[in-house]
């Protein structure tokens, strides 16, 4: 586990996780919804009654969740293993 010489403050680590994933999920959202019209894809399987704006937004946050999960794992594996 990181000891006291783990010099990166928590806030900075949050930024390092949330910010790049934010950017990437933005790109992913644009690409995804350019290829698929949510009204058609979900409308086909009898989706809920939400506007496209809603689908875009939910899609964006799902992507963000995934990409930040990715960043969290990266951060986690970057930590040195304990040498004991």
């Amino acid at each position: 586990m990181p000891g006291k010489n783990n010099s990166v403050p928590k806030v900075q680590r949050f930024v390092a996780i949330l910010w790049p994933s934010f950017v990437v999920s933005g790109i992913a959202t644009v690409l995804f919804f350019t290829a698929f019209d949510p009204d058609e894809v979900i409308g086909c399987v009898g989706g809920w009654d939400i506007s496209r704006m809603g689908y875009y937004s939910v899609g964006f946050f799902l992507f963000w969740l995934l990409t930040s999960l990715n960043s969290v794992l990266t951060c986690y594996f970057l930590k040195p293993c304990s040498k004991s």
Binding site: S7, V15, R52, M53
Partner: protein, 467 residues
């Protein structure tokens, strides 16, 4: 002493990158570059806040209508199918940025980046409320009082109001702003519109009010890679060390050369005006966003002292070291060629774009059906997109299999401007004409009133497997 030194060295990288930030109070500057920036900020903010209200042929002139999946840009309408144009546009913007960076360094950062533009606006509000740099510093040091609370409250209130307006206009670029305004005034905003107004407003408030230069230092990708575009002929802000050093204070009119001093009077004004809080006299640093505030302020000082200007100035490494400067370096030439090629290709293909789209969707419920007459029937749904600004009637033809039978609309398919019509069709084929289980079909669509508007799209016809 030694121990202290090693400690410092160890601490430096950590402190530099992650130290708790000291608030920077940039001093206000006036001068040539400050007025460039002021003009730039005014124009860019004007475009941002007024742009969505611009009308064109009775609709919003520029609208990235996400709910309707259509982009309106004056005369043009772009559909998701036109994504390639957007991609090309982004590439053009990126190369243009590279070119400008290679030639003139971080002028984007200093004059046009939204981070700079909105920070400038927020600084302006801050100065109007809290006063000059020194009164801001005094205010922050002072204990809490009613007067301080009032000033702080006013500042944050104005910042937040401005941010909310920014968020509102942001959403207005993506959804028709007149209706958005009406819905806002009657408190009928959709939940997601409301959410994004708040989200973007909050981001503005945080980035321009609080984070400021930290965005440039820790979050901006451009700041990280811009130095790769630099070479010895790139314009940078630089301090003329040969002329300035040794720095030192002096009386006005004193013969500083006789005193053994350089031109720098060590007034520290260049540090006080710097929005990123660095000292340009330490050499070029990655934090420097090239805003030229230090140039303006130093020139003012040089003027007052009666010295020659440009102790701190826009210059190039080659100029400083007395070498020849050149404009058309290989990288500049490459950027210019690339830029022209892609721009011409983009404009050419937009000009040749056929404003008609056709999607063919096979009926999902069954692969094929045998009719009573023994024919094989496939059912399709055609989606005809008229991307033109006029209504059109289109005639449909299908080829690829001999003697296929199709029920066609006699007068063609009418599609109004900028809309999509879905149109079911049945195609029947004699099984003798089918060689394989899946045969290629070609759908031709062309406008009855304009031969130039025509497209062909492939489809598949499925049938039973024959031995």
């Amino acid at each position: 002493m030694t121990e202290k030194n090693t400690q410092q060295i160890e601490m430096t990288p950590v402190e530099e990158v992650y130290a708790k930030r000291k608030k920077i109070y940039p001093r206000q500057v006036t001068g040539l570059f400050a007025s460039f920036r002021f003009t730039g900020v005014l124009v860019l903010l004007g475009i941002y806040y007024l742009g969505p209200f611009l009308q064109w042929n009775g609709r919003q002139a520029i609208l990235f209508d996400l709910p309707a999946r259509k982009f309106y840009i004056f005369e043009w309408i772009f559909w998701p199918q036109d994504f390639i144009y957007l991609a090309a546009l982004l590439i053009i913007a990126a190369i243009a940025l590279f070119l400008v960076t290679a030639l003139a360094g971080r002028v984007w950062c200093g004059y046009a980046c939204p981070q700079t533009v909105w920070t400038e606006a927020f600084l302006w509000i801050e100065r109007k409320v809290e006063g000059s740099r020194s009164s801001q510093m005094k205010l922050d040091k002072a204990g809490w009082s009613w007067a301080k609370f009032r000033l702080k409250f006013t500042k944050h209130f104005l910042w937040l109001a401005f941010s909310l307006l920014t968020g509102f206009v942001f959403v207005g670029w993506f959804t028709p702003i007149t209706e958005l305004t009406e819905r806002t005034l009657s408190f009928e905003l959709g939940p997601w519109e409301f959410f994004w107004i708040i989200f973007y407003g909050f981001a503005t408030y945080g980035n321009a009010g609080w984070m400021r230069e930290q965005v440039c230092m820790y979050m901006c990708p451009y700041a990280r890679f811009q130095s790769a575009m630099f070479d010895k002929n790139t314009l940078v802000i630089s301090y003329d060390e040969k002329r300035g050093e040794p720095r030192g204070s002096r009386k006005k009119g004193a013969d500083y050369e006789a005193e053994g001093k350089g031109a720098c009077v060590d007034c520290s004004l260049c540090v006080q005006v710097c929005p990123t809080g660095i000292d340009i006299r330490d050499g070029l640093q990655y934090q420097c966003i090239g805003c030229a505030a230090c140039v303006d302020v130093c020139n003012e000082v040089m003027d007052k002292m009666g010295y020659e200007k440009n102790l701190v100035s826009y210059t190039t490494e080659n100029a400083l070291s007395g070498k020849k400067e050149s404009f058309f370096r290989p990288r500049v030439t490459i950027y210019i060629v690339l830029l022209s090629v892609i721009t011409i290709a983009l404009l050419g293909s937009i000009a040749q774009r056929v404003p008609l789209g056709l999607d063919i969707i096979r009926d999902r419920s069954s692969l094929y059906r045998e009719t009573d007459e023994g024919l094989i029937e496939n059912v399709y749904t055609l989606k005809v997109m008229n991307m033109d600004l006029k209504d059109h009637r289109y005639s449909l033809a299908v080829g690829g299999i001999e003697d296929l039978r199709i029920k066609k609309p006699k007068k063609g398919i009418l599609v109004e401007a900028g809309t999509v019509v879905t149109y079911p069709i049945r195609i029947q084929v004699n099984p003798d004409n089918l060689k394989t289980a899946s045969t290629e079909l070609i759908f031709y669509l062309n406008a009855l009133d304009d031969d130039a508007i025509s497209i062909e799209v492939d489809g598949r016809f499925l049938g039973p497997v024959f031995k």
